[in-house]
Subunit: 320 residues, 2 copies
Amino acid sequence: MGGDLGPRSVVPACVRALEKFPSLELTLFGDPAEISAELHSSHHARLTLVECESHVTQEDAPAFALRHKRDSSMGCALQALADGRVDGMVSGGNTGALMALSCHFVGKVNGVRRPAIGKSLPTETGSCFLLDLGANIGVCAEDLLQFARMGVEAQKLYTDQRPLKVALLNIGSEAHKGTEEIRRAAELFREAPDIEYYGFIEGHDLFTGCVDVVVCDGMLGNIAMKSAEGVIRLMGQKVFRFDQKNAFKSFFGQMAIKLLRKWRSQLEPARYNGASFLGLSGNVIKSHGGASSAAFFQAIVTAVHCAEADLAGRVDRALS
Amino acid sequence: MGGDLGPRSVVPACVRALEKFPSLELTLFGDPAEISAELHSSHHARLTLVECESHVTQEDAPAFALRHKRDSSMGCALQALADGRVDGMVSGGNTGALMALSCHFVGKVNGVRRPAIGKSLPTETGSCFLLDLGANIGVCAEDLLQFARMGVEAQKLYTDQRPLKVALLNIGSEAHKGTEEIRRAAELFREAPDIEYYGFIEGHDLFTGCVDVVVCDGMLGNIAMKSAEGVIRLMGQKVFRFDQKNAFKSFFGQMAIKLLRKWRSQLEPARYNGASFLGLSGNVIKSHGGASSAAFFQAIVTAVHCAEADLAGRVDRALS
């Protein structure tokens, strides 16, 4: 259970979430002994532990997980979601296996060709929903149109603005740029009556707030999001080193660094942890594998919001 | 001449470059009247103006430029490079047209399948050369291997470390991740005696300094670089707004902003302006289209370094 850091990161995040949401009930699937150790003997009436036989590893290929890991903590949690015993499921585990097992247990929404992974990212003016983040490599124009519709439903949770502007991520904004599928998708988007199509945007436009939803192949979305996160981390490192090396360790310098840190935290990946699997008949949320407890808490918050808004149901209605 | 801002950005950058490099001689191709207006009647013995009939626009498709814009400022400058009248060429214009005209006038190095565009990016420990940044969409494993060899030669200009570690940009670090061509490239890299192959890296690893050269398809490289730049700009905007809104305009706040600005300038795209076209028989450097004068100056500096180090010749020898 729980990605690279396991219960050490997940359990404190759960305790914090139970405190924040008084009507939240959590079920943890995994090794009860390991989980209990992290609970430090404190008792939570709204926390249930379910023992599972095995767990999915980062090395398990999706097909392997589907054949041999159905009784894993991941599989049991998804079964609970499919049965309606829970309203949302959060995992920090292997993304490919999570998608394969989600399709198996929870199932795809009627008419969805390929479920996608998406996330709301910070922009200059608010936020922007980017998908696909890695579930699909080599998508066609029709897939991209479905991603657009799913992304619009998801971004409605983050903004009251209507209609939501949708763009295609490309190598340039001119009409002749990109692959044939991207250019064909542009035609489909332009003709779709329910899509407010903005045009092609480039990587740097993701953060200007010019659009509300950005659609792309999973390979591109994954690289775009992770490159952006890499720069934010680089920023953290630079600030830290500056702190260490600063010979003039004055009170003023310390205060300034404190402000810098506070500011940086507004952009930190941890604040935006929790990607939604869209196109499934249930709310599945993927946390970063290496998420800290604070970041995993954010993924739970995302799951609560998606479940409360019935995001899976909204996507179902929008696509059928 | 000169990208979106034209002589207004280029001419002051040239004057600054002539001051920095006492043995530099510059030839400007474009409209002498426009250029002279920006020179403000000051005279530079090492600056030559060449009048050109036309110029390439951002809308010109590469094939159109090749047919109808050979006598443009871009075409004339590349002809001068091909003739050996200049040692390097810098342009802020249409990237596709620049590559097409470069291949026509300057020509590809013997054995190069597809020239690539690459750039050295800042990392936690130094820099990392990323290519291709958009010249090639839909590359095969053999192309990626050539990119790796070209990238190693280019990055040698930025670090004394040997051997240089090379990675493939992918959606995950596990062996089964990514497209078939990326996985096939990994096999070629592993078998190549002249490549110190590190493995797959993800977007966030670009900035950790774990490798010296990162190779990918032009679509991915373009999105990775521009997303990273977008975040850096977002950072600038946030700082600006923080500055404006900060009611408590304290000494600490001012100091924090000053520190952050200073730090941000280390990462600013302007500091890293100037991408190299690799695999051509001459040094062609591409500046950002919207480059400020300070950024265009950096592109000239990159061109001077590439020309002095004979980068085009190094790539030629490495690939033949």
